[in-house]
């Protein structure tokens, strides 16, 4: 183990220059690995986003040629027009890429890696080599999923949920290797996740600096710690299910095929037993980041710190017993549906606790509207909508009507885009100075925020109405249905908003590139924040702190404390008259 190198205060002094390859490519430094995950995810986001744009074109202007896409060969497109199977591939790959290769890598791969050692006062992760492997195994998974676009038959087309038997027999979708590669890619990615989660858990438990008790950890670290535990327990279930699916496809087994005595619903149980904790894996870290950003820019302690940490733990626990709400209409015993309805309603409670505490944090604060803060506030506002809309489908009879409709699409995007992605935008802006030593441009940041915020709501809010009108998800051409004729104009409105939303992301990209090149140099603590990462240089060198590791004397949110004249009180600042004991 490399703990000696990691823990030694003089690590930085001893460290000698590494070559280009070891610094930028095969780095074991948690900060470089975090940046690698960030850039990989941003690249994948452009592909996932493009899929979404093409889908929106199809839904607004069904079976017409997409401008600029005449070059795509048949049978994937016909002179720019999207055929049904390509459409099915697009929503499958859009969700797969956004979930597994964008949101998870950014939240957990990038910020988990970058923040955990810096915020708990460690020089690196517990297992730096494993950390490097985790990224590179993840990159291999990314290459496999991209390569599935280029095999005959195209990429997977059975939905990101890949319900068997549709996904289990090639002839049902007409996709052969695309679906196999989908399974293989996610199995490989599962290995990457496993390595990452073990590392995070070990690091948080063992490598906190002197004085950093569990209840002095920032909520970001709590959220990443809880998420890592969920990952460790959930991902192997998916890996198992994927292996069984692959056996059914390639090995002649019948785990999910009734003809051979298999059970299609087994896939759904396995998938959602993973899938529901997965939903929280994708929101908990964003909740943690939002909590930190809200507290910093309200210049006020987070309201109810402990209840925030307990609420996340409660969400994590409950996330294991709600998976059946995805299966109310699946043919699962309806009596079971009633119990899953009850647990699902109950999981709304810790979510509500978090929301009220965020509001409490703003109350009597001194609110600074930075770009990071605007995004964090959007997270709260959008998470409220996403959380409340979830109550509708938690109710089994209402779900009978809105299941598999655009109401669900609206709900998940309010949580995953309105929640997680606004959290990510906030986090990028907030920690960019620490990551790259440069400030991001606030004007560009605000322009990006406002266009994204308005376009996001114009895109996804009307989807609730589509859902109420009965609009099914995953249909290729809504004009094939008489009962959907009254709402087709809403589809057109949504698509135009979506194009604006997509285009607005170039502002973010431009801001990142511009700020990297020409951004104002960041000071050590540009936001006057309390947590430990702001006591390291921007960007921190190898080993994070040039001298001794910081020691912690208090919790992370002592803003506007009556004990000092300034409105912040860093965790590591020793006040006169206090005894320097770290318990």
């Amino acid at each position: 183990m490399s703990t000696a190198a990691v823990a030694a205060p003089s690590a930085h002094a001893e460290h000698h220059e590494l070559g280009f390859l070891r610094t930028y490519i095969f780095s074991t430094d948690h900060k470089m690995i975090g940046r690698q995950f960030l850039f990989m995810a941003l690249f994948m986001m452009s592909i996932g986003g493009l899929m979404a744009m093409l889908m929106r074109w199809e839904l607004a202007f069904p079976e017409t040629a997409v401008p600029g896409f005449h070059w795509v060969p048949e049978p994937y497109m016909y002179d720019g027009a999207i055929p049904p199977n390509t459409y099915n591939s697009m929503f499958t790959m859009h969700a797969t890429i956004m979930i597994f290769f964008v949101v998870m890598p950014i939240l957990i791969g990038c910020f988990g890696n970058f923040l955990i050692p810096l915020m708990i006062g460690a020089r690196d992760m517990a297992f730096p080599v494993l950390n490097m492997l985790s990224f590179w195994v993840g990159a291999v998974a990314g290459v496999i999923i991209i390569s599935s676009f280029f095999v005959p038959g195209g990429p997977a087309a059975a939905g990101w949920t890949s319900y068997a038997p549709l996904s289990a027999v090639p002839v049902y979708t007409g996709v052969d290797w695309g679906q196999n590669l989908w399974c293989i890619s996610l199995i490989v990615l599962g290995v990457s996740s496993l390595m990452g989660s073990i590392n995070y858990i070990t690091t948080v438990i063992n490598m906190r600096t002197k004085g950093m008790t569990f209840f002095r950890m920032p909520l970001v670290i709590w959220s990443l710690f809880i998420t890592a535990i969920l990952l460790l327990l959930a991902l192997p279930v998916l890996t198992t299910a994927l292996a069984l699916l692959l056996f059914d496809r390639m090995g002649g087994t019948h785990f999910f095929l009734p003809a051979g005595g298999g059970e299609p619903l087994l896939w759904q149980h396995l998938f959602w037993f993973f899938g529901h904790p997965e939903v929280y894996i994708m929101i908990l870290p964003a909740m943690g980041m939002t909590s930190d950003i809200l507290s910093t820019f309200s210049r006020k302690p987070i309201f109810g710190y402990r209840s925030m940490a307990y609420a996340m733990a409660a969400i994590a626990f409950l996330s294991w017993i709600v998976w059946g709400h995805h299966m109310f209409q699946s043919g699962m015993n309806p009596g079971l549906g009633t119990s899953f309805m009850l647990t699902t309603m109950v999981i709304g409670v810790p979510s509500a606790i978090k929301t009220f505490n965020w509001l409490g944090t703003l109350y009597k604060g001194d609110i600074h509207f930075t770009t990071a803060m605007l995004n964090a506030l959007a997270f709260v506002a959008m998470f409220v909508i996403g959380g409340l809309s979830g109550i509708f489908m938690a109710s089994t009879p209402v779900d009978m009507y809105i299941h598999d409709s655009y109401f669900i699409v609206a709900h998940i995007h309010y949580v995953l885009f309105g929640g997680s992605l606004f959290g990510v935008f906030g986090a990028i802006t907030y920690w960019f100075p620490k990551m790259f030593g440069k400030m991001m441009n606030e004007t560009l940041g605000k322009i990006h925020f406002w266009i994204t915020f308005v376009a996001f709501n114009c895109t996804f809010f009307p989807m609730h109405i589509l859902g109420m009108a009965g609009h099914m998800r995953r249909i290729y051409n809504p004009t094939q249905y008489d009962f959907l004729k009254p709402v087709q104009s809403i589809n057109v409105f949504i698509s135009i908003s979506a194009f604006v939303l997509g285009a607005a992301q170039f502002i973010l990209l431009a801001n990142i590139i511009w700020s990297l090149a020409k951004g104002k140099k960041a000071s050590e603590n540009p936001w006057l924040a309390n947590t430990l990462e702001w006591t390291a240089p921007s960007p921190p060198g190898h080993g994070n702190w040039p001298g001794a590791l910081p020691q912690v004397y208090r919790g992370p949110y002592e803003y506007s404390s009556p004990e000092v004249a300034e409105d912040y009180l860093p965790q590591n600042r020793l006040l006169e008259g206090h005894i320097a004991v770290a318990d």
Binding site: K300, G337, V346, K364, A381, V398, M468, A469, Q480
Partner: protein, 221 residues
């Protein structure tokens, strides 16, 4: 209210119960949403940064935590309990059937099997028709839902009715249509490249029209 939200006209006996629960949740959600949004907006305006102001140091309030935890828990559990009986009525119990059919999903059609002149399903004189589902009005319809290949979902927006059709299983579904007319039966579970456009038509007819149609169907067999 729901017709203003584009809800399709309901023609089932249980639809109004579902719509009622939807409305109850709608108002609970709306009130909560508006309250939270107004509180947030007021805080953002009132406590915005101005030179010289300092935030008040507040770490939290156990009393408030207890109040909002209890209040939310009570509301959520009440909503669950309120939904329970409707769900059980539609999916677990339901009234005795008047007419019986088999419906099977098959890429990319609904196969409707009508009992032959002997009135029994599963005998040689059964009639199978693709996508045209004729039922008499104001009669309890019971159907055995299954699939011949992948999972499909039997969905009638005008009845708020949805049930997946799973290969290897027979799932019992019932409904009672209260208005004569034609209604769409889209497949609502992704079932392959022909999923979009896979739809049947539900013809709700008067008993006489229904009997006449069925007689023609036998003779055309």
């Amino acid at each position: 209210m729901l017709e203003y939200l584009y809800f399709p006209h309901d023609i089932s006996t249980f639809g109004p119960q579902i719509d009622l629960i939807f409305e109850v949740i709608f108002w609970v959600v709306m009130v909560t949403w508006i309250a939270v949004t107004i509180a947030m907006a007021v805080f953002l305006v009132r406590y915005r940064h101005r030179p010289g102001r300092k935030a008040t140091y507040i770490e939290g309030s156990t009393r408030l935590e207890i109040i909002w935890t209890t209040a939310t828990a009570v509301i959520m559990i009440v909503l669950a309990l309120a939904s329970r009986s409707t769900w059980a009525f539609i999916k677990e119990q339901g009234p005795a059937g008047d007419v019986f059919y088999k419906v099977a999903g098959k890429q990319f059609n609904w196969e409707i099997t009508y009992p032959g002149p002997d009135g029994q399903l599963g005998t040689a004189d059964d009639v199978t028709v693709e996508n045209d589902f004729h039922v008499p009005v104001n009669k309890v319809v019971r159907l055995e839902l299954s699939s011949k290949d992948v999972i499909h979902s039997f969905y009638v927006p005008n009845m708020r009715l949805r049930q997946d059709a799973v290969p290897g299983r027979v799932i019992h579904v019932w409904f009672e249509a209260t208005e004569i007319g034609q209604y769409e039966i889209p497949c609502s579970q992704l079932c392959g490249f022909g999923h979009s456009g896979m739809k049947g038509t539900l013809y709700v007819q008067s008993q006489e029209d229904y009997d006449k149609w069925l007689k023609d169907a036998y003779s055309n067999k």
